[in-house]
């Protein structure tokens, strides 16, 4: 099927930090082209005088006291880490 959208799955997957095999990229390309073709129908909606709705309900500026409270210990925060040492998450070297 001919590509019908401007979406380049392989490129966007890189932006999203997801490696894809070529086969997977090809399948997704067609499936997501179909979805993007479908959402084209939004162009028909008259939105000339409409404010965008980020949320369904009008709730603004929710505050609470900025007070210290009991929370995770460092040990709890690290309890699910794939790699850890000395109270730290261990990752590959970032700076040469």
């Amino acid at each position: 099927m001919a590509k019908t959208s401007t979406l380049d799955v392989a490129y966007v997957a890189k932006l999203a930090r997801i490696n894809l095999t070529e086969a997977e990229a090809k399948v997704f390309q067609q499936q997501l082209d179909d979805v993007l073709h479908y959402v084209e129908k939004l162009r028909q909606a008259d939105i000339s005088d409409v404010e965008p709705a980020a949320h369904a309900l009008p709730v603004f500026n929710v505050f609470r006291e900025d007070a210290p409270r009991e929370w995770f210990t460092a040990e709890q925060a690290l309890s699910n880490a794939p790699r850890k040492a000395n109270g730290l998450f261990i990752v590959p070297r970032v700076v040469e």
Binding site: V9, Q31, I47, A53, A54, A56, V59, A81, P82
Partner: protein, 492 residues
Amino acid sequence: MTEQDLPALSIADLQALLRRREVSPREVIDVLRARIEGVDEEIGAYLSLDMEAAKKEAEQANVNLPLGGVPVAIKDIINVMGQPCTCGSKILQGYRATYNATVIRKLRAAGAIPFGKTNLDEFAMGSSTENSAMATTRNPWDLSRVPGGSSGGSAAAVAADEAFAALGSDTGGSIRQPAALSGIVGFKPTYGRVSRFGLVAFASSLDQVGPLTKTVRDVALIMNAIAGHDPQDTTALNEPVPDYAAKLGNDLRGVRLGLPKEYLIEGIDAQVKAAINAAVKQMSSLGAEIVEVSLPATEYAIAVYYILATAEASANLARFDGVRYGYRAENPRDMLDLYGRTREEGFGPEVKRRIILGTYVLSSGYYDAYYLRAQKVRELIRQDFAKAFGEVDALISPTSPVPAFKLGERVADPLQMYLADIFTIAANLAGICGISIPCGFVEVDGHRLPIGLQLLGKALDEARILQIAHAYEQSTDWHKARPPIATAMSKA
């Protein structure tokens, strides 16, 4: 009342027995465990169980509390401290929750016992539970069919009487649709009515936690426990919580119900349509006035949803990067390799598709054409409902245009799977509440498959929606029907 009949009870009936001391909370856990051992190998509703901890909680249970001694199953996307929380994803395999969701804290404060985690589509993305990386869940009415999704494990567990009730989450129908396909009650509260602190986020402007139960009264009992303000969730509404159970009645006099004319789409199964028509007649005979209403923006709902929900998901799921918890790819060369391969190996296809789509619609150059436009059309959808609720108390429709479909039948075509969400999705976009209740059966290949009726109500009007649903439910026997696998166990 025999031990075999106990698992089929509603929460309300179970509580009556507990309070009369005819059964102890500890015995309830034992009976439930036996039922799960009897049926779950075939159903596949549960991903993990902690019956020993449940038994300890049961020994301390105060049966006079609102949900005292009542075991409740939990969708495996809600954090229960010390228990796994896989979200149905390989990327969270082995993860153990380090805190309790607010709904778990509130359930426990009301005396309930969270004892097990139920299967779901990976990160709640799906309508069949087939996107779980963990297990296959089957529909208790026909084991060759899906239970619906994404809260399919919760729905199947309640339907097969291996849970008295369960919590799920609903972003585009993920409580109501599996409830419909599995023949039980499922309720999506108003956006913000229930705290989402501790619910792993999928689409933050749409997600809401709610109950899956055997009766409408049980929804009210659970809502009494979990609804309300929470300083930990800025979207949790600071509004008083009425006693939902106290307001349930049996007649519908003075109630105005709307039939949205845009919902009479092609593709509704003929038997589903007939069952909904019969339900509308039934509600009319209970005193309701039925009027036609219009929701002109309906045709855009699915398109809006799959732009906004994927955009929000692409941001929310950025946290799964293999650094702080969960799965990490082996021997990463550098950070980019660690991220790229962890997410390649950790996420399933539907999650990848949605992250890619969401990243695209938010990207520079496409944001206005997709994301901003979708937010504006969302406002049109919201206005449609506001106008309709100026005329009627509730809207009626099927929950799903079709009954439960076969496992594997729809996985290859995501768009077709998305289109089946037509009746449920708009409620999330508008932030309103909605319920699915059993209203009949379809006969297919010698199996009875349940049909769900959806009632939608305006924001914070859950008490009225539950009243209407309860009045209809009590005038029928649909909610009393049990699937063959459950009745076989009762006779055993």
